[in-house]
Symmetry: none
Subunit: 228 residues, 4 copies
DNA sequence: AATGAATGAGGGTTCATTCAT
DNA sequence: AATGAATGAACCCTCATTCAT
């Protein structure tokens, strides 16, 4: 079900431990980006991954390359969720609902700064991942549209951007690097509950019959590139 | 209509030119925060305002104090929009729609990092501005609820957080932090049209009859403080 | 008894309030130098004097000029103490003891950084004040030497430098700028008592018969200029 | 004889070059503190040590940490001098004289601003170094007292503070903070000769029989802490 | 391959000094 | 004459990135 292998195939062989390091770095980076924002010092990421900082640089030449790979990883996992939802839910709109809430739990919101920051938009790997993601989500939406439950004036880009925005971490929440304490606990939890409320409301707005006319035009993920 | 005067009165007299500088700094900061995020170098803000960096520090002792005042300014302007919408629209839900779109145009999304970053939450000025904002929005929502067009399971906090998130600038759009050009050009426009689409969809989800049950509980602006 | 007038005569007439400001500034500066060291911000001195910062600059073109005048003031007061001690004590060595302890109470220790920092050593005013001070102290020492109680291998420069050093404020004591509180109280008191102990011991070392041979040669205040 | 090793052992292993850098930084800092006071720009210290500024910060997180280590180093060297003097001089008071003059040559005077500025007074390392220093000096003084040559109304604290004060560098001598030359040339030499004269006089005051009664009470090094 | 260490460029903030009212 | 305001240079410290072991 996971489609991570094709991308990796192009890499030169890695020693087993090197590969493990690489994955620990990406995982650590994803967590740090979600918890502390896209500006976390790379040294902190290396520390969290349990490797020296130079090891991080051996794998990823600079910050944007790391971001690039985290973005790949997140997109892949989200596409997986879309595929799962479509396979496992009988009701088409319910599959859409499930996917959206799960995408939030995959911290899709953290993707936003990643994608935006990346100078490599247009990189083949990213485009491939984006296309796979686009296809997986389009399938879910298509089913829902076909079942007559999803309004027809929106496209994948609309959904992804809105969901990404609604699930972005509020900066300053999450424990700040300096505050070793404390109490973000309940706030974060509350924030998550908040997020799912908002997603639910947004999903309600997607259902038929459409209750308003939308300005602008429906956008696919391709449209999200700068040059459009 | 604007309630800005009382706050200003309490300040010790400022010379005319100093006051003009102060306001130019706040205006420049709001623009820079919106375009480049809450991390923009203060020196850039000073340059944009046309003053030396130390002048900025004379007016605002540190970054958080500047953020604090920008937040006050934005909250006040948004409350003004709410009051206007309520006064000028005959249909209650239409007033809500108008307010939400205008809040987006006031760049309410830029508030998010500002509010979150501020170490002064709980500061009397901020609480006062928040309370005024809360009251103004609550009036709009209350009307809509009374007219039977707004679902009853959401509160001011739900609306504000969702709208804030949906209108947050995508980091890296607009000019990149390093590129001083600022010509965000067509992407921004596109992004703005995107935003209004999403707001429209979200508003559709707020209308009656409710199409789903919401997780969590309705939240007011007060609930958005850490200690709750 | 005070010999301050001659120096001031050369100044152009000052309005009464301007003169009062000038003196308040010098007094504030002396206190701040003693309490917080020679590096205190000039704005703080102006504040303590109850004037605007620019007023300070109208009177003293830059930091070193202020230091210059504080030094004059301190030297004058200390010379006054020497004259008094000589006039009022019958025993010559006792006059020396009295003078040394009173010089400490006049915060002669604060002079050290002042004199050293001043780029104007060699300025006529300073040389005049120094010469007067030298003469007043030499008179006290001369008496003590004549009475056979003071060893003959030391000169004014030895006494002044040693006393200055022994009474210098310990940096970091006194209330630090940030610590608005607090408890330097007893420490400072203790430090003062310390100082008088050390002065006493040093004075004991000055008495006849000499208990050791001194390295180097006796120095007058003139010898303390850089070029010697 | 030196007791520096135990402290070093507790550090995590350092690479040979890193250790060399660390020591060069401490040495450069000691020299700069002595010559230009405790306020010298850290960047200058780094330059003098021949390393980049960030290297200094890698080893010492901030100014006070550097000060802390310089203080440790100086205290240790001075304790060494005390031990040596006691071991090598047959006459007890002569050992005291020798120690005092050598402490001056170790620039003990530079310690004063260091110790005072340190926010870490009470830090275990500093207390340990202080205790060792205290014990070494007490041994010297004890011998002298036992031989009947040292007055009995003074303690270690008296000696250390007085000697520190008498040997403090005159700020502005040596090169001025701005002048990078450093050629303190003849003035310093003169100043050094001065210092040894004063120390000699002070030592004469310490000898028996006591020539005066001292105000205050004898103080140990422990008494020099703020809370006493 | 992996790592600790080194580095320079940049941002935040303070302060001596000058300017405009 | 007196003042509040403005300014730029300097300093402390951080962090992305490169180097040497």
């Amino acid at each position: 079900m996971t489609a991570t292998s094709p991308a990796k195939v192009s890499q030169p062989r890695l020693r087993a431990d090197a590969l493990r390091n690489r994955e620990r770095i990406v995982a650590a980076a994803r967590e740090m980006f979600v918890e502390h924002g896209a500006e976390v010092p790379l040294d902190e990421i290396a520390r969290r991954a349990g490797v020296g900082n130079a090891t991080l640089y051996r794998h990823f030449a600079d910050r944007s390359e790391l971001v690039h790979h985290v973005a790949l990883s997140v997109m892949d996992r989200i596409a997986d969720r879309a595929d799962e939802a479509r396979a496992q839910e009988s009701d088409a709109f319910q599959a859409l609902r499930r996917f959206v809430h799960q995408a939030a739990d995959e911290r899709i919101g953290a993707l936003c700064p990643l994608i935006s920051h990346s100078p490599d938009r247009g990189h083949p790997d990213l485009m491939a991942a984006r296309d796979r993601l686009n296809a997986s989500i389009e399938a879910v939406m298509s089913d829902a549209r076909a079942s007559g439950q999803l309004r027809t004036d929106i496209a994948v880009g609309d959904l992804m951007v809105a969901v990404t925005q609604l699930t972005r971490p509020l900066p300053g929440l999450g424990s700040s690097p300096r505050a070793h304490d404390s109490g973000c606990g309940s706030v974060c939890m509350d924030f998550d509950r908040f997020v799912h409320r908002h997603l639910q409301l947004f999903l309600d707005g997607l259902a038929t019959p459409a209750r308003s006319e939308l300005p602008g035009t429906a956008a696919t993920l391709e449209d999200l590139r700068p040059t459009t």
